[in-house]
């Protein structure tokens, strides 16, 4: 960079000399010498300019790359709860737009700061030599400029953040509308949504224009102050020439040099705004990077064996929620057992599963894997042991086989095919032109609800972990397919422990122990026969279904249910 700026000062110097020589009609050799020097310095300048751009901008891209990797790694190490509390669109804009702002600061920003400063440093002595009093006057103008900039920026900073937030907000809205388009069409909310989007846009523009008003006044102000310095040169310098304190040539040189300084000064101003944006963007990125993460490597490794899962007096609340989602739950799940969990909507079944599978952190001393508190266990080890089919599985926009073979290692085709067969996907895969390699689109858009669930089941089966957990996985599957799946689960039993969350008594019947939950606690436990004998909630459910399947008048059973409710069972 220094080299470049040095060349920048030298080239005009030699041109000047050449010009002088030509004017004097001097020797050819002298001119050739000067031409040579110009060529050399031009070459140096060209190469150093190339290197500088390549290096600094290149490095900024590499830093961006590193930073992006860091953010991504951080995102993957964050707790599940973090994702529950933050909007996808917002996180996305932090990872993309904000990162971009930081990169611009690091690249062009970093390139122009020293560039401008070195140029000013090289020019200043010469200027002082020419006329100290002029420098003083011009200096006052420039200092005024700096003061204006510095006082305006703190005002701009929150505005930039607001704009960035508004942008994220808008992205999120559009994303929602497109994802929920079928609901919108169903309830003919097109007009309302368009109005809401218009409002959002108006707000966004208002915010933008507030910044524009400031920024676009500032930039011409820059020019104005710079031009005023020129005016000062003309006036003060001109007077000095008239008074004979300075030659005309010196005045011209002074003027030329100041004009050469214009660009670096403007660049400095531009950089100021980059710094502003960069800092507010970096703050938003730091929101992610500064989230504390537990140190996984310091945690206990788990042995290879099939663990006993124990839950002791588990009480759990969601962050910032007063009420308890789970209260005083006790269960022990031994290797080889098949466990059923059932209960009404919102009773905490899914929360219990989330806590038991380490997605949400319970307090210490409440959930154990063998003798290890789940808070101390290395989660990676733990997840080797469990395969989960969640209620609403997420599919990636890749191929079916890619979706089945999540996990640290890719599975071989045979295992994938086997898992797919066991999940009842065989015929579906046959119907796809690409078979297992079929790309399924964003969130599996090409698949039906039932197919999605079966891919998720195949995914868990392919993992072949000792504990298999299924959270109401068969809700989109008709009973024929359900039976096929449950059968092949029994036949190709590669798991040891099975935990089933379901509303269907037919499913619960096959389990060893059923936990019936209500309002965040376990109200009944035991196997099907025990629970029938207990004559509680479960028994009532079962009897209800028995009645229905045997003779049939649904309305009557419904009435009976209502009577039951009057007897004190509330749902």
């Amino acid at each position: 960079m220094l080299l470049q700026n040095y060349s920048f000062t030298r080239v005009p110097f030699y041109f000047q000399r050449m010009l002088d020589e030509i004017g004097k009609q001097n020797q050819r050799t002298v001119i050739l010498h000067n031409i040579l020097m110009v060529m050399i310095f031009t070459a140096i300048m060209g190469v150093s300019m190339f290197m500088m751009r390549k290096l600094i901008i290149g490095v900024s891209r590499k830093i961006e790359y590193e930073l992006r990797e860091r953010i991504y790694h951080k995102l993957l190490s964050l707790d599940y709860i973090f994702y529950q509390e933050n909007q996808t669109g917002d996180l996305m804009s932090r990872c993309t737009n904000d990162l971009d702002h930081v990169r611009t600061l690091l690249g062009p920003g970093v390139m122009y700061i020293p560039n401008s400063i070195t140029r000013i440093a090289l020019f200043l002595p010469i200027l002082l030599h020419l006329s100290p009093s002029l420098v003083l006057w011009v200096g006052i103008c420039l200092i005024l400029l700096v003061i204006v900039i510095l006082s305006l920026f703190p005002v701009l900073r929150p505005m930039f953040r607001q704009i960035q937030e508004a942008m994220g907000f808008m992205n999120n809205r559009v994303w929602q509308v497109i994802s929920g388009i079928s609901s919108i069409k169903q309830y003919t909310a097109e007009k309302i949504e368009t109005h809401r989007f218009e409002d959002l846009n108006k707000q966004y523009i208002k915010k933008q224009m507030r910044v524009v008003r400031l920024e676009e006044t500032m930039r011409p102000l820059f020019f104005l102050l710079l031009s005023i310095s020129e005016l000062v040169i003309l006036w003060v310098g001109g007077s000095q020439v008239i008074q004979g304190k300075m030659t005309l040539g010196q005045l011209l040189q002074f003027n030329v040099m100041i004009s050469l300084l214009t660009f670096p000064m403007l660049a400095l101003g531009w950089i100021m705004s980059l710094i502003q944006q960069g800092i507010s963007a970096m703050n938003r990125i730091n929101y992610i990077l500064d989230k504390p993460v537990e140190d996984e490597s310091a945690k206990k490794t788990l042995p290879e064996s099939v663990p006993v899962l124990t839950v002791r007096n588990l009480t759990f609340s969601y962050p910032r929620r007063e009420d308890k989602a789970l209260q005083n739950i006790n269960l022990t799940i031994k290797p080889g057992q098949t466990i059923g969990i059932t209960g009404p909507v919102g009773c905490g079944k899914s929360t219990l599963l989330n806590v038991m599978t380490g997605l949400m952190k319970p307090g210490r001393g409440q959930v154990f894997v063998d003798d290890t508190d789940i808070c101390d266990a290395r989660l990676e080890d733990f997840y080797k042991k469990i395969g989960v089919v969640s209620q609403v599985p997420f599919l990636f926009s890749r191929s079916i086989s890619d979706n089945i073979t999540l996990g640290p290692k890719e599975l071989d085709e045979e295992t994938i095919r086997q898992a797919a067969d066991n999940a009842g996907l065989e015929k579906d895969i046959e119907s796809f032109p690409e078979g297992l390699r079929q790309l399924i689109g964003e969130r599996g858009i090409m698949l039906s609800g039932g197919q999605k669930q079966r891919v998720a089941i195949a995914r868990a089966l392919g993992k072949c972990s000792p504990i298999l957990i299924m959270d109401d996985p068969l809700s989109s599957v008709d009973s024929k397919t359900e039976e096929h799946i449950l059968n092949s689960l029994k036949i190709h039993r590669c798991y040891s422990t099975l935990i089933l969350v379901s509303h269907r008594i037919s499913v619960l019947k096959i389990t060893d122990v059923i936990y019936v939950m209500d309002k965040g606690t376990v109200v009944e436990e035991g196997n099907h026969t025990d629970l029938i004998r207990q004559n509680g909630l479960y028994a009532r459910l079962a009897r209800l279904q028995q009645l229905e399947s045997e003779n049939g008048n649904g309305t009557e059973t419904g009435n009976e249910m209502e009577n039951g409710n009057e007897n004190g069972i509330r749902y």
């Binding site: 808008m170 497109i178 079928s182 609901s183 005023i228 999540l406 037919s506």
Partner: protein
């Protein structure tokens, strides 16, 4: 993952397309003609005062300083000060109007796009990923704004400057000007070469950006799977791959720019040497030193706008690509149009539904429904039954006119649904889907869908009916609780209940339940059922369910198999037939709950 870069487009063709796209942007500009006129006026004054400014400096030096005219200098200085002030004011005005114009255009295009998108028929959404449409409406529109409010204006200004400079050079010394002009072809060659590299470079970066965004988006929404399947390391690898591709594509662009700028600088120095040599050998003393000096300044001035133009090329490129994508979306046809003279939909349908010889396939050559005919009487409750993929949900979609049938007819109250106003038709039918979508916003907003006509009382009433009130009441902010995107704060069963309330609060003439209660426990469902019976009194209802209890409550059952209506009747009648229904029943295709 493979990132294949599109085959190079034919340059000529792209150019033509650029013009076509620019022409399509014109209507948006036309709408703001007064504003544009004002902007141009500001620009003119700004430029005139800008050009005058050096002139005053020169006169200040030539006339006053050279002649030691101190009062004259003072006078010129004042004039200059005035000019500067005018220039400043108009610059501010100009900048402000230009940005305002940009924002206005952005607003217009974005709203147009949104409006068009939201009214598009379902087939578009079936085949288009969400992320794609999203970038059109957000980033692509922004790219056009950037181009208009920053690009076009500066390009215009820079071109003007180039013309001025060229003119000035010819006026000063045409021979030297000719020498200087020899550089232009060289410059053009370099720029063309540069342009080509940049074009491919940016195409790569756009692909890389899309790749990164998709990976990121999926990792965030699919975080649960990533955690539970120990998918982190491989996700990191995949991300790294995308990220590296991104870096490489950008480094190519960086290299091109890094080469280009010094090249221009070197060329400008070379031409100056050439001018000097020419001056030395042929002109000799005949030449004024001042003229050469002026030439140097001009050559420098000449290259700056050209360089700026090259920089602007980037914005131009992405703006053209963006507008192409935007217009593609705007050209997307609404395949299910509203009839030009729709029949008014009565405030309340009787609710008589007739399907007559209906044939339909999402793709015309793969039929999903074959020759389906049935009649549902006003107030009747009908259950649709059949294996997965037998066409039950399709019937519901057709009734809402999300798709048009290939042959046959569908009529409600003896009027073909094609003749009704599509939106009114849908607003009289409430469909509660199996996988409800909840929006970011409060519970209440999710139930009303921001319809101002629905009151809080009605919301609570509907919630109580479907038994959602119980859990909503326990949320910290009750009906004002934000359920976050896709209702991730609620369980699946709770979401179904909210969606149920959403359907009910509208008091529809026809009520359709598409496995609406699959994730709801049977006791809650029972409670809903009994309340529903009262509510559905006198309303037509179509119910798709796997639960026998639900199915049996229907007045009539329609059994579908492979897109055909195969049996109909009550539960007992159908059992006697010993057909598919009996088989479904025996193989426990229904859950017995």
């Amino acid at each position: 993952m493979a990132f294949d870069i599109d085959a190079e487009l034919d340059q000529d063709q792209t150019k033509k397309q650029d013009w076509r796209l620019l022409r399509r942007l014109l209507p948006y500009l036309r709408k703001h003609l007064p504003l544009i006129a004002l902007t141009l006026f500001f620009m003119l004054i700004m430029n005139i005062s800008g050009v005058l400014h050096p002139y005053f400096v020169k006169t200040g030096i030539d006339r006053h300083v050279m002649r030691h005219d101190l009062p004259g200098l003072l006078h010129t200085a004042f004039l200059l000060g005035f000019i500067l002030l005018v220039s400043f004011i108009f610059q501010v005005l100009f900048n402000y109007t230009v940005q305002y114009l940009g924002q206005k255009l952005l607003y217009d295009i974005r709203i147009d796009l949104f409006k068009h998108m939201i009214y598009l028929s379902n087939d578009y959404f079936d085949r288009t990923p969400v992320g794609k449409t999203l970038t059109h409406i957000t980033n692509d529109v922004e790219a056009i704004r950037e181009f208009i409010s920053e690009g076009v204006v500066s390009v215009f200004g820079e071109l003007l400057k180039v013309v001025f400079i060229l003119a000035a050079m010819v006026l000063i010394n045409w021979k030297l000007a000719l020498i200087a002009f020899t550089i232009i072809p060289l410059f053009v060659v370099i720029t063309v070469f540069f342009r080509r590299t940049i074009r491919t470079g940016y195409r790569g970066t756009r692909k890389a950006t899309a790749q990164i965004n998709t990976t990121l988006q999926e990792s965030i929404t699919g975080i649960r799977e990533i955690i539970q399947f120990n998918y982190k390391e491989r996700s990191k690898d995949l991300f790294k791959e995308a990220n590296t591709f991104y870096l490489d594509s950008y480094l190519k662009v960086v290299d091109a720019y890094a080469l280009y700028f010094p090249a221009v600088e070197v060329i400008s120095n070379l031409i100056m040497v050439a001018i000097l040599l020419f001056a030395h050998y042929s002109l000799g003393v005949a030449l004024h030193v001042g003229e050469i000096f002026a030439f140097f300044t001009y050559i420098h001035m000449f290259f700056r706008p050209l360089r700026q133009l090259a920089e602007q090329f980037n914005t131009f490129q992405s703006a053209m690509a963006a507008s192409e994508r935007i217009f593609n979306l705007l050209d997307e046809k609404i395949t299910i149009p509203n009839p030009p003279n729709p029949k008014p939909v009565p405030q309340n349908f009787q609710g008589k539904i007739v399907f007559k010889n209906v044939n339909f396939g999402y793709k015309p050559d793969t039929p999903v429904l074959r020759d389906v005919s049935f009649e549902i009487q006003p107030g009747e409750k009908v259950a649709l039954v059949g294996y997965t993929g037998s066409g039950k949900t399709t019937i519901i979609k057709l009734l809402n006119r999300f798709y048009d049938i290939q042959s046959g007819s569908i009529a409600i109250d003896d009027v073909p649904i094609r003749e009704y106003d599509m939106f009114e038709l849908r607003s009289r039918i409430s469909t509660v889907p199996q996988d409800p979508f909840l929006f970011t916003g409060t519970v209440e907003e999710n139930i009303t869908m921001h319809d101002p006509r629905i009151t809080r009382e009605q919301v609570i009433e509907a919630s109580e009916t479907v038994n959602a009130h119980r859990f909503i009441d326990k949320l910290p902010a009750r009906y004002d609780e934000n359920v976050l995107e896709e209702g991730k704060r609620l369980s699946v069963g709770q979401k179904q209940l909210v969606s149920f309330a959403r359907g009910l609060v509208r008091k529809p003439s026809i009520f359709i339940l598409d496995e609406a209660t699959s994730s709801i426990d049977s006791e809650t469902e029972k409670l809903i059922d009994s309340a529903l019976l009262k509510l559905l009194e006198g309303r037509t209802a179509i119910i798709i369910a796997h639960r026998l209890s639900t199915i049996r409550k229907a007045d009539r059952i329609l059994v579908f198999n492979k897109g055909r209506l195969v049996e109909e009747g009550t539960h007992q009648e159908l059992l006697k037939k010993e057909g598919i229904y009996t088989r479904l029943y025996q193989t426990q295709a229904f859950s017995l709950e």
